[in-house]
Amino acid sequence: MADGATTTRPVVRRLGTAALVLAALAIGGVISNFKPSDETQQRPFITRGGPEATVHTRSFDAKVLGVRGGEVIGSAGYVHESKGVWVIVKVQLTANHEPTRVFYAALRDGTERIFEASGRVTQDGLGGRNLQPGIPVDVEIAFEVPTEVPLDLSLRLATDSLDHRMDGMAEIGLPITRDDLTKWKSDKETMRLARPTWAGSSPSASTSPTSTPSPGTSATSTPSSTTTPKGTTSPRVTKSPRVTPTPSVRSSS
């Protein structure tokens, strides 16, 4: 009996060890399968807001002042016709704590596709302007999208043009409808992008398409949120007058 016990104990011990190793491997596999992917872990910290909201990121604030569009843009002496439609977004940018440049701008459509700011036209509002803390600057940014692009459209802004890993990013819903896109597509008048201007000196500062943001419209930072708060009652830009050479943006309502 004593001999039997001494021979079975090592076997049981070995089986127990093997079971523990297998259990450790299984638990490790489960953890590995369910942990967030590298993309998720390194995604940008997106702050979302509606068309009237001032959206705060780590290094800058952004507020959409208006949108306009058309089929043709003039830039550097050339006329650029779009196979889709040009969308121009006027946005006010303010650096928070130190001089900052915003190099990245893109439109996100209703199916999560990303349309970066066009490289066909000179974009003085992107990168070239060094934003000083507390001094708001109005810039216009041009994008090309298909006329039938799925709505809603949102503007995305970030400081780095390529690497957005764990960086701050603003996402602002745009008041653009299907009717706007259709109308803009048939508009052959040549548009021009306004040069960046200090908001205090901007002649178009009073032509904001949206009314003064009501209290509480400031966006909240949601670094891991998947919600997309959109403006629901904001005045919509239905048509902005073509202005050459100093475009401005107006609201019809």
Binding site: E39, Y78, V79, H80, E81, E112, I114, F115, P146
Partner: protein, 201 residues
């Protein structure tokens, strides 16, 4: 005989494995295992769309054109451009900047080498939008754009036809970064295109 068997039995296992490996190679060679792999890319005609990721491509023409000043300058004014005209639609979900990867032209006589890439096909030196001549920095999802891929060639280079490869990429996890990336640039289709001489308009 028993002596031979005995020596085999006493031989190290490693020798046995060498023998098995050699036999496997011999069988593979006998059935064409060492024959060069044939190209499998489909052969297209001019005007046919090659659909895939991250772009759809339709080659519409190949032309010789003079300088495209002021938008694009030749390194040597005496040279001219070989232009592969294509309609490109991005099927990826975001704007793409790797436009020069879309099309490669093979064995262009007298091509001015833009960068060292061995003896392989030459990347285009410039890509421009045909409607206004602006340099293409990015193309956007769902917007079909007609563009010209440009190679600078010497004055005496007047090819009558050229072989063009449409390239593709695969969206997969990078073994280097662990992130999902577009990798594995590889030919997706090939076509031989007659060259139109438009240097005189």
């Amino acid at each position: 005989m028993s002596g031979v068997m005995g020596r085999i039995a006493r031989a190290p296992m490693q020798w046995f494995l060498y023998g098995v490996g050699g036999l496997a190679l011999a069988v593979s060679a006998a059935f064409g295992g060492f024959a060069p792999v044939e190209k499998t890319e489909p052969v297209l005609k001019v005007g046919e769309v090659n659909a895939g990721t991250p772009w759809n491509v339709k080659i519409t023409a190949v032309r010789l054109v003079k300088d495209l000043e002021p938008q694009i300058s030749l390194k040597d004014k005496a040279d001219h451009w070989l232009a592969v005209i294509a309609e490109v639609e991005i099927t990826d979900v975001e704007s793409r900047h790797d436009i020069r990867d879309i099309v490669l032209a093979k064995d262009i006589p007298g091509v001015l080498h833009y960068e060292f890439n061995g003896n392989g096909p030459e990347l285009a030196r410039e890509v421009v939008v045909t409607s206004d001549g602006t340099r293409v920095e990015a193309l956007h999802p769902g917007l079909t754009e007609k563009v010209a891929f440009l190679w600078e060639v010497k004055p005496d280079s007047v090819p009558t036809k050229i072989e063009v490869e449409i390239m593709g990429k695969t969206y997969r996890e990078s073994s280097l970064t662990g992130l999902m990336e577009w990798l594995d640039l590889a030919p997706r289709a090939v076509l031989t295109v007659p060259v139109e001489d438009k240097r005189n308009g």
